[in-house]
Symmetry: C2
Subunit: 323 residues, 2 copies
């Protein structure tokens, strides 16, 4: 398939209103009146951000999902996306068809139609770029800088699953199961994020690793944060699989989960009085949220303090994925 054919045959069928069939220079859309636009763009390269053996359907899902996770952290409703697809010469058509099928399913699932983009050939590894647009009420998108001393720190869902799934994949190629599923097909917390827009004092998604992302909030908000290792939400599948992969104490696995990244959960802070509203929201949506710590005034001490279940309060040397 040539670039022209990829666009016409595989991607144009996915395109939404305003995309001009992906055959014009640009897409043209009317933004929702009275709303702010929320914009994000993430890149993924084969062998760096996904495994070359990952099914192309899940690569497409992940590409959209990691961008929508950024929108979720800002409370945005997805609007549309643009795709940048840089492929190797002679790439198997089956990969492209699988990728397009995965993108079709994901854009439908998240109501985020494809509006345009670019396809190029001649790079040495598949390199993907996606720009996602969402919309939010004016002034409602939480940033990372609004956490105040006394605020409570929460994280949604469970953490560490994707990191353990990746480790399973690196140790044996054709494993499946829920942990690998979390690595390959992350679920952006869009509904929770939209509910949090009016509630969270600071919010981000957990992509690089919970501790790394928590430190980002600390630095942006100029606060310290005390986290409780035993409060980190570890899932059943994680706890069942962890001992099979590597011997280690519970504290070891808490540290792993706190630094593994690729979770695409929401890490956020709320004022102390907002707990009841948060729990109601959590119940309405059926999304668990875990209270994992609190915000402190910034002193000369370390920004992040964590107490692990073995009594240690040492920070891991690496807090998350290093950029």
């Amino acid at each position: 398939l040539r670039e022209r054919d990829i666009i016409r045959d595989l991607l144009a069928p996915l395109s939404g209103a305003g995309a001009r069939g992906l055959s014009d220079d640009c897409a043209v859309i009317a933004p929702p009146p009275g709303r702010e636009l929320v914009l994000t763009k993430d890149m993924m390269a084969s062998g760096v951000h996904f495994l070359s053996a990952d099914p192309p359907e899940t690569v497409a899902h992940k590409l959209l999902a990691v961008n929508l996770s950024d929108l979720a952290a800002k409370g945005a409703v997805p609007l549309a996306c643009l795709l940048g697809l840089a492929i190797t010469e002679g790439l198997d058509d089956a990969w492209l068809r699988g990728f397009a099928q995965g993108l079709r399913t994901a854009t439908n699932q998240f109501a985020c139609p494809l509006l345009g983009g670019d396809t190029i050939s001649g790079v040495d590894r598949i390199t993907l770029s996606l720009t996602a647009f969402g919309h939010v009420a004016p002034g409602a998108a939480p940033d990372r800088a609004g956490a105040r001393p006394g605020d409570l720190v929460y994280v949604s869902g469970t953490v560490g699953d994707a990191g353990l799934g990746l480790r399973q994949l690196l140790m044996a190629n054709d494993v499946g199961g829920p942990l690998v599923g979390r690595y390959r097909k992350p679920a952006p917390q869009l509904a929770l994020g939209q509910g949090l827009a009016a509630l969270a004092t600071a919010s981000c998604d957990v992509s690089d690793g919970l501790l790394r992302d928590a430190l980002n909030i600390c630095e942006a908000s100029d606060i310290n944060m005390a986290l409780e290792g035993p409060a980190l939400p570890l899932g059943q599948a994680f706890l069942a699989a962890a001992p099979d992969i590597l011997m280690g104490s519970l504290a070891h696995w808490q540290r792993f989960a706190a630094t593994a990244g690729d979770d695409y959960e929401l890490l956020f802070t709320i004022a102390p009085g907002a707990e009841a509203v948060l729990l109601t929201l959590s119940q309405q949506l059926g999304v668990t949220v875990s209270h994992i710590g609190r915000c402190l005034a910034h002193t000369d001490g370390p920004r992040l303090q964590v107490r692990w279940s073995d009594g240690s309060d040492q920070l891991p040397e690496v807090l998350g994925y290093q950029h």
Copy 2:
């Protein structure tokens, strides 16, 4: 420089209002009320879309300019951009600093501030992606499908310069001059495009090659087109340099200019009665426009007919850059 440092030290200083200092998950902007959004995204890879020896400042300029050329073709006013920067391990910091400097100059020149994006490392050749946003009056963005039989075909500026500049670069590395300048630092026709929004029946930019882009309009509008080779606007620098590079007739160089691509001029059609308005616009802006052909009803004959100055009417085998 690590990814984090590139963003903080080199790119954050370029960022505009709503970018949240490039330190949040997303940018948040209020779209101009009552206007439609125009969206485009182009990728460029080193050794494919630019030469690895091209100065990083001009690579950054070109990356923005080729996207703004798409906006120009739709009559849009630039609003903002998002950058995707995929770099090789151990890339020289000087390259990154030069790229950031070039992007700073270009985003200032075109009033198109950086709002966000992503930086990744570990690819095998520098791969760039840019998403540009513009705005336009509702319904005013011309597409490629509106040309009607009888409409007149125009192109702005001169064509072939960038293609000849590239040929000069491929034959001798350290040449300069106006043709190389057109290859490395294309000038998007934003003012002309904005003036044409109310006038053009179809419009696109000349990126792949004039004949290839003309064929796109023919197919989208379901028309034929008759072009006059001698009417193609060849610049003084082109005519002066062409004989030095390769012997050939004027018709040979007309064909070269009609297929070389990378011109980033506007190719557009207007109704026959609109000529006077177009010429006034051209004079006001100081941008030349050349009448190069006319639109015909679609028959079973070839979509494109060109008569060259040597009397031949044969189409080149390759109409432009092949995707």
